[in-house]
């Protein structure tokens, strides 16, 4: 099918884009990479009256790594994340997550800002933004607002962004060179939407016990979820520990069944992927699986 008719706006300045959103209200939709919006428009599931294209807005496409942070402009494409040696060195988890999004032709267009603002419940970058509590920057008529990745997603396809705000960029912390990480997902076919995805980070103390760990999961609820209260800290790594963490995590999620997987399947996948993530992140922290 073809999209229904719309008016097209191609601002070159961020202020113009924000002005258009304020003026046009909920008749307007921001177009970023278009890899989710355009299919929705082609299927007429979305029929915006106005499309405000961000592709010509200057200043949104920078990827920079400074002392302690990785700053990614909203219009940076997934393919750039995947192929940036600088990013892989500073935060390989973000690059690995980006590389699992759809197919490379989609990643050539799809953007990090678009992915975060779209807020698909099983999407990769929202999961990482949630796990690492990324610093998300939005700009609206009243100025700049900073939002945190762990609170940014409020429901299915819904975020804390206001209608007249543009997500302008996101900053991630570096991963410690000694920190292990993992991103694991199960999809029906390579490049499909994940049914369930998990991400983890681990850091060890000199005593060989976990000194820090993070774990988050997507595809089992309306938004990605951090499993903060589940603590590995102070424990020695073992298959048995991971299994008990997975069992506990599984008791805290209440996935819904849908056409892609039943609730029970999602529970099973969650357990398996948590074990896999913790194991992989642990291996990487111990240098068994270099970046």
């Amino acid at each position: 099918m073809k999209p229904s008719p719309f008016d097209y706006h191609a601002p070159t300045q961020l202020s113009e884009a924000i002005g258009l959103l304020s003026e046009l209200g909920d008749e307007a939709k921001l177009l970023s990479g278009g890899q989710s919006l355009v299919p929705l428009m082609n299927m007429r599931l979305a029929r915006p009256e106005h499309v405000v294209d961000l592709n010509r807005v200057t200043g949104l496409s920078d990827l920079s790594v400074d002392q302690d942070r990785v700053r990614v402009g909203a219009m940076v494409r997934h393919r750039q994340l995947e192929r940036s040696a600088e990013l892989v060195a500073a935060n390989p988890l973000v690059a690995a997550a980006a590389s699992l999004i759809a197919h490379f032709q989609i990643r050539e267009r799809g953007t990090i800002g678009g992915s975060l603002a779209h807020a698909d419940p099983s999407a990769e970058l929202p999961l990482v933004a949630c796990l690492l509590d990324a610093d998300i920057e939005a700009q609206g008529p009243s100025g700049v607002r900073r939002l945190t990745g762990s609170e940014f997603f409020t429901s299915v396809f819904t975020t804390q962004l206001d209608e007249s705000e543009v997500l302008t960029g996101v900053a991630f912390r570096h991963l410690d060179p000694a920190e292990g990480w993992a991103f694991e997902e199960v999809a029906r076919r390579h490049g499909d939407f994940a049914i369930v995805a998990t991400a983890a980070t681990t850091l060890f103390g000199e005593d060989g016990r976990y000194a820090a760990a993070g774990l988050a999961i997507a595809g089992v609820g309306a938004v990605p979820q951090r499993l903060d209260a589940i603590s590995l800290v102070g424990e020695l790594p073992s298959d048995r520990l991971w299994r008990s963490v997975a069992a506990e995590a599984s008791s805290r999620i209440s996935p819904q069944g849908d056409i892609h997987a039943t609730a029970e399947d999602r529970h099973d996948l969650a357990r398996t992927l948590i074990i896999r993530s913790l194991s992989r992140a642990t291996q990487r922290a111990k240098g068994g699986d270099p970046r």
Binding site: M1, K2, P3, S4, P5, F6, D7, Y8, A10, G34, Q35, V38, P39, M41, N42, M43, V51, D53, N55, R79, R83, A102, H103, F104, Q105, I106, E108, R109, R189, H190, G191
Partner: protein, 166 residues
């Protein structure tokens, strides 16, 4: 909702048109420019038949509006072979290895393979399989396409960064 003038370079030649904002780049290429080698399968980004190079990057032309391509450089399947019709090494390899049957997916496969080999001139078989995962073929079972891309890589097929064929 008025038509807009767009000017772009397609396969090295200037092209222009008047398009409604909702016109997909794939439809502009096929209907307005009469370059029907770019195929349209699913119009939701799944099948890969409409893949073209947009400023050198392999993208779905069905998920881009023609107005967005104003000022851009596009390479379609018609721009891959040499000016005298000499097959590009990727095309030759597909022919040699029987990498196509009905041919519907082939334009997207060829454009995809050119972009892949430019970014990674000596891909592993796994990298080829991943690179091809966004192109559906219902005839070949893919094996012969993978072999063809391996052959093309072996003879050093690649495209330059702006998408023109080397």
């Amino acid at each position: 909702m008025k038509a807009r003038a767009i000017h772009l370079v397609v396969n090295g030649e200037q092209a222009s048109g008047e398009v409604m904002p909702r016109m997909l780049l794939s439809d502009f290429i096929r209907d307005d420019l009469a370059l029907t080698g770019t195929h349209v399968g699913c119009e939701q980004g799944a099948c890969g038949a409409c893949t073209v190079l947009l400023n050198g990057r392999a993208v779905r032309s069905c998920l881009t509006f023609a107005v967005q391509a104003d000022g851009a450089s596009i390479t379609t399947i018609e721009g891959i072979a040499g000016p005298d019709g000499e097959l590009h090494p990727v095309q030759q390899a597909l022919r040699d290895r029987h990498g196509l049957q009905c041919g519907f997916c082939t334009p997207g496969v060829v454009v995809t393979a050119c972009a892949l080999l430019r970014d990674d001139p000596q891909p592993t078989t796994q990298a080829i399989r991943e690179g091809l995962s966004g192109n559906l073929c219902r005839c070949t079972g893919y094996q012969s396409i993978i072999e063809a891309i391996e052959q093309a890589a072996a003879v050093g097929a690649s495209t330059s960064a702006d998408g023109t064929v080397a």
